[in-house]
Amino acid sequence: MNIGILSTAHMHVYSYMAALRRLGVPIVGIYDDDAERGRRAAEATGVPFFPDAEPLLAQVDAVVVCSENANHKRDVLAAARHGRHILCEKPIATSVADALEMIRACQQAGVILQMAFPVRYIAAVRQLRDLVQAGRLGRILAMRGTNHGYMPGGWFIDHRLAGGGAVMDHTVHVADIMRWILGAEVRRVYAEIDNRVHQKDIDDCGILTIEFDNGVFATLDPSWSRTDAYPIWGDVTLEVVGSGGTASLDAFAAHLNVYSVQDGKGVHEGYGEDMDYYLIKDFVETVAAGRQPLVDGVDGLRAMEVALAAYESAARGEPVEVTLAAV
């Protein structure tokens, strides 16, 4: 099996390529519509640069799409046309219509559309899901999640390319694991969203309240509220409250505190497992086996719908009923 990279807009592309190397999967080349960015990535990784996507698509079995959110559709449709399996960076797209078009195109072409939700590949998240599904916490009543991070800048703060700011960028990770752990769908969303941290023209903070169709309520903080002074880029946490107990997940808790004059501040040196590696490994195995992916396009759509509902709620000042788009 060999792989092509469609765009290097999203920085995750570097850890995905490192994981592919570790697995011994050949990377045929990098295509990027921003030739300068693509050449830079190609040079840094020692992979050939393709100024056009078509010749690259002609040579590969599967692609990793790491373009800007709004360009996922373009790249996924191109790969599907060539019958190539796809791992797509999150969020799936910036609109329901785009996501549906992508999902249907992949269905019709008979190719795998897997979403890059790396949080599902954290061992503690798996264990938490197993505990919940085995009933160890009784009936689940509530959840409280966070996915904080630095403000990434660049195209992430360009509405046209990103489809939104912190809420679009960070809601999807935790919304996805909440859905996955509960085995339930989002029914209603309320959100307070603002732009108070970075003085950029895009949302950078907020609190979402999410209700699921099994009665569980949850909140989620997707803010880009970590500054450079903080010892780590961000977090993924999830508190689960059940009738039979509680569980507290801190996905990056495995760390050393490092205080070096070289850093100028105390930093966390994480020693947890590399979630991106397990994500890529699963994708490669899924393609090889031709099986249904763990996280598919519909999961990507459902997570994005939560972010879109949050924006709508904040604009209207009231809770929004989520109508799940029919696939």
Binding site: L141, A142, R144, T146, H148, R188, Y190, E192, D194, R196, V197, H198, Q199, D204, C205, G206, I207, T209, E211, F217, A218, T219, D221, S223, S225, R226, T227, A229, Y230, E239, V241, S243, T246, G317, E318, P319
Partner: protein, 341 residues
């Protein structure tokens, strides 16, 4: 300096905490303890050498000369007791929340104003050094403009007289009884609240309660307040994220002393973590020589002497109740609730 005479009503967990605080103050005398459980009143009176005990407030007010009535009774009783004390010209010290309903709270405010006595409500978080320092740091601009405040407060479901915490009609549940501390602190720090949205669960049978509230302040600050009577071991956490930095504390990691006594049938001691289990309600240990409850009671006595102005006014307590009730209403109706002015 004339002695201040205090009549303490309620010999439960908070009554014991207040009694211990009075015992440390010079020129303050506990002159009586009232509790419907006369044995509990007598046991506490013996600890502090208090001369008289009563099983009802009316008799006590008739019988004993006092300047202050301190109410450490279930929330739904605050209003009747406070009004009775005010009518007799007694200053009122009262545990939080001020009352169970806004009408009850207004009756207390009116009576205390009419009879010219102080109404001092125990929003003790305003005396906790970690919270006081956090507020001062934010006001100094250390973390710039605050964007999102996150608060957690919680532990086990509290046990009290007649299991009154289980009964929302009497206690108001976790939002009124517990999270009101954070509502008051946030309002103290960020000003008036514009609107709230909340979700909660209260299972009296389990028992278990948990609530997640979003507060939007008129200043624009977004606050997330998590309150739990579903966890093991009491703790508080806060995180204030601003344009210039982050300020955070987790009380599980800031206690300078941890003592773990091995549970023993012989001593009847329970193994305990960071909190001192005073009866059925965990009270956190505080790493200072004067604990926040003592600082609060000392301050209240100074206010009554006319030496200090109240750090927390009766109106502050009323406003905190208004926020808590708005959250309860939102959780009930599923709608955001605007607070108005």
């Amino acid at each position: 300096m004339p002695n201040i005479h205090v009549l303490l009503v309620g010999a439960g967990t908070m009554g014991r905490v207040h009694a211990a605080a009075y015992a440390k103050l010079p020129d303050v005398s506990l002159v009586g303890i009232v509790d419907s459980d006369r044995e509990a009143a007598e046991a506490l009176a013996r600890v502090h050498g208090v001369p008289a005990t009563y099983s009802d407030l009316t008799t006590a007010l008739h019988d004993v000369a006092c300047d202050v009535v301190d109410l450490c009774v279930p929330t739904h009783l605050h209003s009747t007791y406070a009004v009775a004390a005010a009518e007799r010209g007694k200053h009122v010290i009262c545990e939080k929340p001020i009352a169970r309903t806004l009408d009850q709270a207004r009756a207390m405010l009116d009576a205390c104003r009419t009879y010219g006595v102080q109404l001092l409500v125990g929003h003790v978080v305003r005396f906790f050094p970690n919270f006081v320092r956090a507020k001062a740091l934010m006001e100094s601009g250390r973390i710039g403009q605050v964007a999102v405040a996150r608060m957690f407060r919680g532990g086990q479901f509290p046990r009290g007289w007649d299991d009154w915490y289980r009964d929302v009609d009497r206690s108001g549940g976790v939002m009124l009884d517990l999270m009101i501390h954070d509502f008051d602190f946030l309002r103290w720090t960020f000003g008036p609240v514009a609107r709230v949205y909340a979700k909660s669960v209260h299972d009296a049978a389990a028992p278990l309660a948990y609530a997640l509230c979003t507060l939007r302040f008129q200043s624009g600050v977004i606050a997330h307040v998590e309150g739990s009577w579903a966890h093991e071991g009491f703790s508080t956490r806060f995180e204030f994220a601003g344009s210039q930095g982050i300020l955070e504390e987790d009380s599980r990691y800031t206690a300078p002393l941890w003592v773990h006594e091995r549970a023993s049938a012989a001593t009847g001691r329970a193994a305990d973590g960071g909190g001192a289990a005073a009866g059925g309600v965990a009270v956190p240990l505080s790493p200072v020589f004067v604990n926040p409850y003592e600082a609060e009671i000392d301050h209240f006595i100074r206010v009554i002497r006319g030496e200090e102005t109240p750090r927390v006014t009766a109106m502050d307590a009323y406003e905190a109740l208004r926020i808590a009730l708005a959250c309860a209403e939102s959780a009930q109706t599923g709608r955001p609730v605007a607070l108005g002015d």
